[in-house]
Symmetry: C2
Subunit: 238 residues, 2 copies
């Protein structure tokens, strides 16, 4: 018998971006020992994985796992297929940066990790407001996956199912940033850019950079993002 | 414009075992061009992957992809963790060969592959009768995943969702074997054993071997399984 009681455990999907860093801070603030999981699915922006490791360390994650999945072999997305250009302009409908079944896959890996570690919850930083047209960021998708978690795991059958928590679901980017700052997240450690250079410096132009910049402006918080030297906020070209 | 009309496409999860080989034969018989997907999740019985390649070729799959996922890093199952012994005796409840969230993960990969290839269906050889206590082989799990497929993909949002088909769901092992034989499956190419040697020869003793042997007896079909030289059907020890 141990003297100190164990804290409840949570697995947190950590991409290295702004949203998932705030999600990790929330899971910790809600009293969990946090097990961070980053998935390397052949995306071009590997700088995010370095950022994830920095964020996990800074926010006191108990463990940080990076799992590899060779999704790049499937093709079909600008984020994993080098033959498709990442666009600058906001796109109509579902963007070409959509990775087929990405969140389903990442939640599946998180679910397996949670079951092995005895975690009570999986936290994921999806967001319905700024969701940019990704179908697997919508609340109804998260609810459907929670059913899969309940019916498809040993703990779901024999005990309490592993909860799927998406605390940022209905927040604006500005609210996410303000909450992160309150909970001690250093957003200078995070990388959101789809085209970050190997040092994790952001292009300033892609959809993700644009949403992030606008978020800091709306939150009234200084933007600590490290941009490429070529980037100046007034420039709009590629 | 092409002269010959394209057949509908299906992704078929192909483990190299008896059930998934029959499932591939059914998907083909139902008029699909079949895209076979095998997932290498760190399982010890790699001989199954060689078997999958043989089966895909023999049954005329258009493409066969093997995707790697380092699930072994998570531990927690006798099939991926070398520290846990694979048992001989049938076990009560959920067996230690259970891989956390395995079918959720494999269906997720199949879903992404189906979306990229424009497939209308994913076929999976799960079975509720011989399901050996795996929660993620039950019909209610498959139904929950179908909802995830509908809500979490681009095609599900903008067109017809990708169907999740589990044709073996309510069949006995004998029915699966009889159907496979009718559809031309050579079960001598398949490997079901949890402890197959590198040449794909079966131990004859594990749960999977036992179910398979009993199935051939019940189907009244000669058992074409390649067993290890040490195995004789009368022997019951390890």
């Amino acid at each position: 018998m141990s003297i100190s009681a164990d804290k409840p455990r949570a697995v947190v999907l950590l991409s290295g971006g702004l949203d998932s860093a705030t999600t990790l801070a929330i899971a910790r603030d809600e009293g969990h020992d946090c097990y961070a999981l980053s998935v390397h699915y052949g995306q071009r922006h590997v700088a995010e994985l370095d950022a994830a490791a920095r964020v996990a360390r800074a926010l006191g994650a108990v463990e940080h796992k990076i799992m590899g999945v060779d999704l790049a072999g499937l093709g079909g997305s600008a984020l994993t297929d080098l033959g498709v250009d990442v666009p600058n302009a906001p796109s109509e409908g579902i963007p070409v940066t959509y990775v087929p079944a990405r969140n389903t896959l990442m939640l599946s890996l998180a679910l397996g990790y949670a079951e092995v570690r005895g975690a009570q919850a999986v936290y994921v930083g999806v967001n319905a407001v700024d969701y940019s047209g990704y179908p697997d960021c919508r609340p109804e998708f998260i609810a459907a996956f929670a059913e899969v978690a309940r019916l498809g795991t040993k703990v779901g059958v024999h005990g309490a199912p592993i909860a799927i928590r998406a605390p940022l679901q209905y927040w604006s980017k500005a609210e996410i940033i303000r909450t992160g700052v309150q909970l001690g997240v250093d957003f200078g450690l995070t990388v959101s850019c789809y085209r970050a250079d190997p040092q994790g410096r952001a292009c300033g132009h892609c959809d993700s950079c644009r949403l992030r910049r606008e978020g800091f402006v709306a939150a009234g918080t200084p933007d600590p993002t490290h941009y490429c030297v070529e980037f100046a906020p007034s420039r709009t070209g590629p």
